[in-house]
């Protein structure tokens, strides 16, 4: 009797709890783990963003690629720009801007926390992106926003890794993340969900994903999720000379043969003719 052997399916990935709980295991930034362990307060400046720490917790994050808390709050009129500017001006070490806005009843606690966490995780995603330059840490300087909802370093690192994986699963090519985007010419575009449609209407060949995020008052990561979905659906493509052009490769020169093995070639020919 013939036994049909099939290859067993690959094991499904299971998150390892013990390693997931050890921040050092993520290896995103050894320096950040050290600072968390010593409960440091200060500012960690990395290539693509800045993390603000207080007592080893992340209290705020900023990145040129992510819209700031002010953009998230003011774009749709939740807070007027003038109130934000006043709070930022009046903030000191004892009264952070967040506290001032709450006390003046400009925003509610829930709104501030939601937008703050949105901005924090978004900027941290870019700040913790792989970089070529080492980070710098300055002890002792807080952020003028004041504490709103501090987050453990381990949680920020775990979420950053999870977000990378999420984007990779949607569409593995990060090429469209920073480039100006262009709508691909399709006859009849299929209907897309409302939040993707909002992104799609701003795609004009000049704006990149971070530009669109700023315009929508939406975190850049959330915009990237939609951009990668639209890319995967073939509706959007990066408008840029694709990939750094590789230098035209010179064809390998043919090997210079001085002594062809005539006898071997003749035997080979004879054998082929005899077939």
């Amino acid at each position: 009797m013939t036994v049909v052997r099939t290859t067993p399916p690959p094991r499904l990935p299971v998150r390892n709890k013990t390693t997931a709980d050890e921040p050092a295991a993520t290896g995103l930034s050894p320096m950040l783990n050290r600072l968390a362990a010593e409960r440091a307060t200060g500012v960690l400046v990395r290539e693509c963003g800045t993390l603000y720490l207080a007592d080893g917790h992340v209290v705020h994050a900023e990145s040129p690629l992510a819209p700031g808390l002010d953009v998230l709050l003011t774009t749709h009129g939740t807070l007027d720009a003038e109130s934000w500017r006043q709070a930022a001006d009046r903030a000191d070490e004892r009264h952070g801007a967040g506290r001032l806005l709450l006390d003046a009843r400009r925003v509610t606690q829930g709104t501030l926390e939601l937008c703050h966490l949105g901005a924090l995780y978004d900027a941290a995603y870019f700040a913790l992106a792989p970089s070529s330059a080492p980070g710098r840490f300055r002890y002792g300087t807080g952020h003028w926003l004041g504490p709103v909802r501090p987050v453990p370093v381990a949680a920020v690192e775990r979420e950053t890794l999870r977000r990378r994986e999420l984007l990779h699963r949607i569409w593995p090519d990060p090429w469209a993340d920073g480039a100006p985007l262009l709508r691909t010419a399709l006859g009849a575009a299929p209907a897309v969900p409302p939040r993707q449609a909002a992104v799609l209407t701003l795609v004009d060949g000049a704006r990149s994903a971070p530009d669109i995020a700023r315009e929508l008052g939406r975190p850049t990561f959330h915009t990237l999720v939609d951009v990668r979905r639209l890319t995967a659906a073939g509706l959007v493509a990066p408008h840029a000379p694709h990939a750094p052009h590789a230098p035209p490769s010179t064809p390998d020169p043919l090997p210079v043969v001085t002594d062809p093995d005539i006898t071997l070639l003749k035997r080979l020919r004879d054998a082929l003719e005899a077939l």
Partner: protein, 141 residues
Amino acid sequence: MPGIDECLLEAMRLPGALGASLVDWTSGLALGTVGDAPGGDHEASAAEAAELARLAAEQRAFAPGAAAAAEAGDAAGEAARPDPPVEDLIISNHDSYHLLRFVPTSFDSSVFLHLWLARADGNLALARIRLGEMAGRLVLG
């Protein structure tokens, strides 16, 4: 004016409440958690619930008209219409309920409240009404 934690603690005072969380359905991040997690892991259950919430918020079968308004760039229509049009999702298990309530906000967001309710003690109708009120108060104060 409640923050995220106060809102979740209030949800936990509902009869039969086992656990509550506030989740972002684009990223699958749990912004706050209280009590037990279905399956024992708040982060994993947040990511899974987010998948379901995203489908409900995006599919035209459940959210009719929203896509057309956004496509046309109809700002006035968008402002008048809550985003997403779906209010909540209810999942009934043999021993528990899951109630997912979308939080309408004046700023751009994609969050929902997730309440896990024991079926024996929970009152689904009451929980649905109260969770809706909490979702409103979370951002409106």
